[in-house]
Subunit: 386 residues, 2 copies
């Protein structure tokens, strides 16, 4: 049987595009009949059958047993082989390392988390990352060989090659060539990205920003950061420094969360990771000191947000990060402040994904890298699954 790569010229290119169209129709959907695939792709029925047969031969598509019931011979149905390979997404944070392992459709099979600290040595933080992934693989009954791609998110400015340029949160993190260091631990390809950007990607793929082309994602938590979705894709910027408006002194984002952490309503023995929750709870109950603290936090959050909104005029602003659990308190305050200064108010929504969002975004990025590798680079790039 001829492979796609062996077909030459314009016809091959057309057939390659048809294969991509069929795979797109089958990705993440229920099993489809040839008729349904033809409808979704706009291809003729004979062309559809031809392409599906080839993809079955290559191992990317499998026929599934016909559904029970009905009269006559049931139509054959096909699905993408999402379990043909797996990816890992990791979130290397200041206080926590999280990992998720998923299939090629991004369905998460297992998640783990480990506690680290701001001062955890670089080698130990990387070892914790490896253990987090290994734990996911074990939980999912998979081995290292089942892993095709690892994507990692971390705090700070990360360049295109995956080197940490600046990191305010993690000791000795700036200067680490994270792609290379993780590449020593994993035998598959590794990609690294800024964590807020991966969280924004997760919101776009499966969270509050689904179907939205232009959105601002706020990471509101112990750190305050942001990321942008422009034209349906995460915007990195020319040097990977987009979304860093909070580093401008005028925004006060570096210290914004201190109002919440240092509020007198927080009991003395509460660890810093839980402090803001106490302040939000007290503000909900109307405690004046807590209300004032939350309002000052909202002032700072709104100034940097308004700069992004007035620059980009996005459709949506998503409030994410740990403080999104207090979206009921924060969103109304943020809305009032933005309405005062913004020419056109975007919609505001709280994140639906919670603290897993960076790891989920990393899973999405890993799947996208595999798509690019297998399907993205022109005729002949559709290789069979390993």
């Amino acid at each position: 049987m001829s492979t796609l790569a062996s077909l030459g010229g314009d016809l091959s290119r057309l057939r390659h595009l048809n294969s991509l169209a069929v795979i797109r129709a089958l990705r993440g959907a229920e099993p489809l009949t040839l008729t349904a695939v033809a409808e979704q792709t706009g291809l003729s029925r004979p062309s559809t059958k031809d392409v599906v047969d080839q993809l079955v031969a290559l191992g990317w598509v499998v026929e599934v047993p016909p559904s029970a019931g009905g009269l006559g011979r049931p139509a054959r149905r096909y699905r993408f082989r999402a379990d043909g390979g797996h990816v890992a997404g990791v979130d290397i944070g200041v206080h926590t390392v999280r990992a998720a392992v998923a299939d090629l459709d991004g369905n998460v099979l297992a998640e783990t988390r480990q506690t680290v600290s701001r001062d955890t040595p670089v080698d130990d933080r990387l070892a914790a990352t490896f253990r987090a992934v290994a734990g996911c693989l074990a939980a999912a009954g998979l081995g290292q060989d089942d892993l095709w791609s690892v994507s990692a998110g971390t705090t700070g400015v990360v360049d295109r090659e995956g080197r940490v340029q600046i990191s305010a949160g993690i000791r000795d993190w700036a200067g680490v060539d994270l792609t290379a260091r993780l590449g020593e631990l994993f035998s598959c390809t590794v990609h690294v990205e800024n964590d807020a950007r991966l969280a924004a990607l997760a919101e776009r793929e499966r969270g509050a920003a689904q179907g939205v082309n232009d959105a601002v994602f706020l990471h509101a938590g112990r750190r305050t950061g942001a990321a942008l979705i422009i034209g349906g894709a995460v915007h990195r910027g020319f040097g990977g420094a987009a979304g860093e408006v909070g580093l401008l002194p005028v925004t006060h984002w570096a210290t914004a969360a201190d109002y919440l952490h240092d509020c007198p309503v927080v009991p003395a023995d509460v660890p810093k990771g839980d402090a803001a929750r106490h302040t939000f709870d007290a503000a909900r109950e109307g405690h004046p000191v807590a209300v004032a603290a939350v309002e000052r936090y909202a002032d700072d959050l709104a100034l940097g947000t308004s700069a992004m909104v007035m620059t980009l005029d996005p459709e949506l602003v998503v409030l994410g990060g740990g403080f999104s659990r207090a979206a009921d308190v924060l969103l109304p305050l943020l809305r009032t402040r933005l309405e005062e200064v913004c020419l056109r108010m975007p919609e505001l929504r709280g994140s639906a994904l919670g603290e897993e969002c960076v790891a989920l975004g990393a899973v999405g990025r890993a799947v996208a890298h595999l798509d690019q590798e297998f399907f993205g680079t022109g005729p002949g790039s559709i290789a069979p699954p390993r």
Copy 2:
């Protein structure tokens, strides 16, 4: 002879794409031989001849006389019929209305300008716009029937339908349905856009931002404004309000130019349109009061610029608008201030286009609208020139 529209199915789509590739190769270039067209498009020589013959029959491409000299029979050469139609670009400003008429490649044939004022009634401003275009047509030896598309830029926030939403500069301008009003004056299609955005487009097409995918364009003049190029295209925002960061009170852009206009070095009898020039000249000569005024202006310009730079991380910032004539004074001051706060410094350049840039951008937008109309909407959309 069959038209492209009559060919059905996938083959027609492929042939349509080939036609677009040939037209792109011929647009704006010197006349090309079939061999050169085949090289640039990647099509086979027989396919190229087939497509070029069809485009000649449709009137989009003409054969040009062979170049003189050389041995043997010279190869036939072809060019796009840029003179098959014309467009107008107009800049409806606070103090001036400018127009330019160009061919389908955007080559400007004639330009005019008229003086108006902030208080010119709406009807008179529109009449001045019509006269500006009529003057261009007369100068170029063309009539209204030669005009296929008119694109207009104006100050303020303009929605997708071409209604002025907000205009700080022109009296009674907010609420004007500019597309409809201009449509009553011109018999061809009319499009309306924010002026800074058209200036940014001109910089991208033929100015300081050629080949740059992500750039911030500063309109520095009697008004202070901005526009964004993202992914190689002008970014409008969800509601057409992108680039309006200068409306945030914290930026002081609304009053920034006052430092230059109200500087004591400006003679009392100088009209406001010339005032800033005196301040820049005095600053160049080291006059302390003028230097201080320019520095305070640069402070304000830099704050809003830094917010856009830290949001987008662009490759380039273009200093445009009337004050770009003082780029020698302003760019070093802007650079110093941005370097203090920006994570990654973009390149800074002064505009190369001067005060014609909005009209030039409008020409580019009009050409793009025609391209979309004739070539952009799938099989069968290649209609013969009128």
